[in-house]
Amino acid sequence: MLMAGIVIRDDSPLQFAVLDQVLRAAGHRAYPAPDLPAALRQCREQSVDLLLVELLLQRGNGYSQAAFLQRRTGVPAALMVSRQQPAELRWAERRGLYAVISRPRPPALLLRAIEQVLAEALSTAAPVTDRPPGGRPE
């Protein structure tokens, strides 16, 4: 797996630290984005391959922000949710998001799920916003 740059949009420093630890151990680079402007700035300044956006944010919500970031920056955005139910998948699909990743889960499984999404995002040439998130292996 290639080294990838991943922006993590989560207003919880703890959750960023967890993901950062997991991703760094696999050789990826994680960039924190505690708010929306920071996420935009990171996408502009760094080489970013994937956006991970938490659904439960203290200000705003994950669907809106992931859709906005994906549309504005062109970087595929994956939504981090606490469960993966058909309702979430369907709404994320309607909003044009790239993928939905569920957590919490053990670090190894979380890394595998992120890398699967990353591999698809890097290999695809099609516009990412037209790809539905449902049906991907989690």
Binding site: N61, A87, R95, G96
Partner: protein, 600 residues
């Protein structure tokens, strides 16, 4: 006790009492009342200084008496001494409490202020300024030890129990690991003096935590201080009823356990994760505890998110902590359910959202899910909300079960609604459809959404959808041009963005934002009919406003000209629009009055 000893004790007890009463002749001379004699004996014993003197006196009495019974005096002394001490100890404590200490207890209880903390009690200051060096730990601890020694003898219960309480309280005042036991003590008893002692012990613990060793991370120290302060505040008497206090105990106990055992957690001590986890978990546990307490109405609304975040954080710590936390939550739910009334709609909605958010992770989760199902079944409106999508949300009939819905209950329902929203969920598709003149396509989806949101009870989404629908219908009215009005484009874009944002909020289990300003903005553009409002005379505009207010108050859908079913009348949106129209009318009337005066 062996039989000879028991027989001897039975034989000698009156004699021992007699001897004691002779010793206490000054207190109760010649009294024949057994209770009084025994009390007098106990008073005497309590006044005797030192075990040795008491024992010597007893030995003399027993030796004298055992000679008459022709048994070995030493054996009798050895055996009787133990039994006598046991019985005398128990009885003396009970009698002394009744005869001597009760007035003292009454005096202490009367002296206790309602909100806790007396004039010399630094608790209040400490809670607001935990790190202030002016509060001396040594001075407070001296005060606390004195209070413990004075108050513990006044507590009800048997001797062994009181000794246990003393040990627990003493440990809890210095050691974090005894916090759970102290809170348990608080839960088990209704004694105000004991409650006060527990609170004082926690204040003392707070002062000890202030002086934690330097190897503790700063974040950990702050977290511990904040959590202990939270617990002390929640234990404060006089604010709520005993039932409310019982409600928060369950959660507090688990918080206490989490707090005490955190040091043995799976997260590596001193790591960045652990340092970051302290404030987060404190904030979330605090939100949950406050919500269980029921005093914070606003906290109850946002409970689902702290719960899910708390679960995510504790997942890092490992299974015991996660299970304790789940146990606390479970007890909180049960306590609320037993109390009946406090399990309000918002709480249920929050917990249901949380249950939907987290379905795995701890062993206790299935039990919690079962309890929440039970709560859901007890609620008719929740039942209705669950059943409606299955029956078919396109049914526009009135549904009294969702007459007063919660705006965040229908997160899943909105996601289910999304099956029909091909165009509305993507702003670019709306734009394309608008520019291509495919207005019926948008109108059809908006109609579906409005009806579906009305049936599911998400009124704020329904309001925005209804106003947007009215705008599209006005745009397609015969008086308007066949091609879309370019000036309406930005208005619709803003309207769709607002609608989409609210749909996202509902899908993410967040409370849906109030649509007042958006509705007002859209209605301002809705007022411009086939002739733009700027070209109408003020009199004509006033009449137009009057007609629209009349239509709204009659509960009619102006664009369709049909009377809406009562459950579908959107009172919130209606009020907003009427208020906005009345403001416009007042402005116009002011202009008219000014013009009239100018003409005169």
């Amino acid at each position: 006790m062996s039989l000879p000893c028991a027989a001897l004790l039975a034989f000698y007890t009156p004699a021992v009492e007699e001897a004691c009463s002779h010793f206490a002749a000054g207190a109760a001379p010649g009294s024949r009342e057994p209770l009084l004699r025994w009390s007098a004996g106990m008073v005497l014993l309590s006044r005797l200084q030192g075990e040795r003197r008491r024992e010597q006196g007893f030995r003399q009495v027993v030796r004298a008496l055992s000679k008459r019974a022709e048994v070995d005096p030493e054996a009798v002394v050895r055996r009787l001494l133990r039994n006598w001490y046991e019985s005398a100890g128990t009885l003396s404590r009970a009698r002394l409490r009744e005869t001597l200490l009760e007035p003292e207890r009454q005096r202490l209880e009367a002296a206790l202020p309602g909100g806790g903390g007396g004039p010399g009690d630094p608790t209040g200051f400490l809670l607001s300024n935990p790190a202030d060096p002016r509060v001396s730990r040594e001075r407070f601890c001296r005060h606390w030890r004195r209070e413990l020694e004075q108050t513990v003898p006044l507590l009800g219960g048997d001797g062994a129990g009181i000794e246990d309480w003393r040990v627990v309280l003493h440990r809890a005042s210095r050691d974090l690991s005894a916090l759970h036991a102290a809170l348990r003590l608080h839960c088990l008893s209704t004694d105000v003096l004991l409650h006060r002692l527990v609170r004082q012990a926690l204040v003392s613990l707070l002062l000890h935590l202030r002086h934690l060793p330097a190897d503790w991370p700063v974040g950990s120290r702050r977290y511990l201080l904040a959590l202990v302060i939270l617990i002390i505040e929640l234990l404060e008497p006089g604010r709520e009823s005993a039932a409310t206090t019982a409600r928060c105990h369950a959660v507090l106990r688990q918080n206490g356990r989490l707090l005490a055992r955190w040091r043995q957690s799976a997260v590596e001590p001193g790591s960045a994760l652990r340092r970051l986890a302290w404030p987060e978990i404190h904030r979330d546990l605090g939100a949950v505890a406050r919500s269980v307490r029921g005093g914070d109405g606003a906290g109850a609304v946002d409970l689902a998110i702290p719960l899910a975040r708390c679960h995510r954080t504790l997942y890092l710590v490992g299974e015991p902590a996660l299970s304790w936390w789940a146990d606390g939550l479970q007890q909180g739910i049960l306590a609320r359910r037993q109390l009946g009334q406090p399990v309000d709609r918002r709480w249920r909605a929050s917990l249901r959202s949380f249950r939907e958010a987290v379905m795995s992770g701890t062993k206790r989760m299935p039990l919690i899910a079962g309890l929440l199902e039970l709560l859901a079944l007890e609620s008719r409106e929740t039942l209705t909300a669950i059943c409606v999508p299955a029956v078919g949300w396109r049914d526009p009939g009135p549904d009294p079960g969702v007459a007063e819905p919660d705006q965040r209950q229908s997160g899943t329902a909105i996601s289910q609604l999304s099956a029909g929203l091909d165009c509305l969920a993507d702003p670019r598709r709306v734009q394309t459809a608008w520019e291509a003149g495919r207005i019926p396509e948008i109108v059809q989806e908006l109609t579906m959404l409005e009806r579906g949101a009305a049936v599911l009870g998400v009124r704020r989404v329904q309001t925005v959808a209804a106003v947007l629908l009215a705008l599209y219908r006005r745009a397609a009215a015969p008086g308007f041009a066949a091609t879309p009005d370019p000036a309406l484009g930005p208005v619709l874009r803003r309207g769709h963005a607002g609608l989409l944002y609210r749909l996202d909020q509902a899908a993410a289990w967040q409370p849906v934002s109030r649509p007042q300003s958006l509705v007002e903005y859209l209605h301002r553009h809705l007022e411009t009919g086939p002739v733009p409002a700027q070209r109408l005379t003020p009199q004509r505009r006033c009449l137009d406003i009057n007609r629209r207010i009349q239509t709204l108050l009659a509960g009619e859908d102006g664009a369709r000209g049909e009377v809406l079913a009562p459950a579908l009348v959107d009172t919130e949106g209606q009020q907003t629009v009427v208020r906005s129209l009345l403001r416009d009318q007042a402005r116009l009337l002011a202009v008219l009055c000014r013009d009239g005066e100018g003409r005169r």
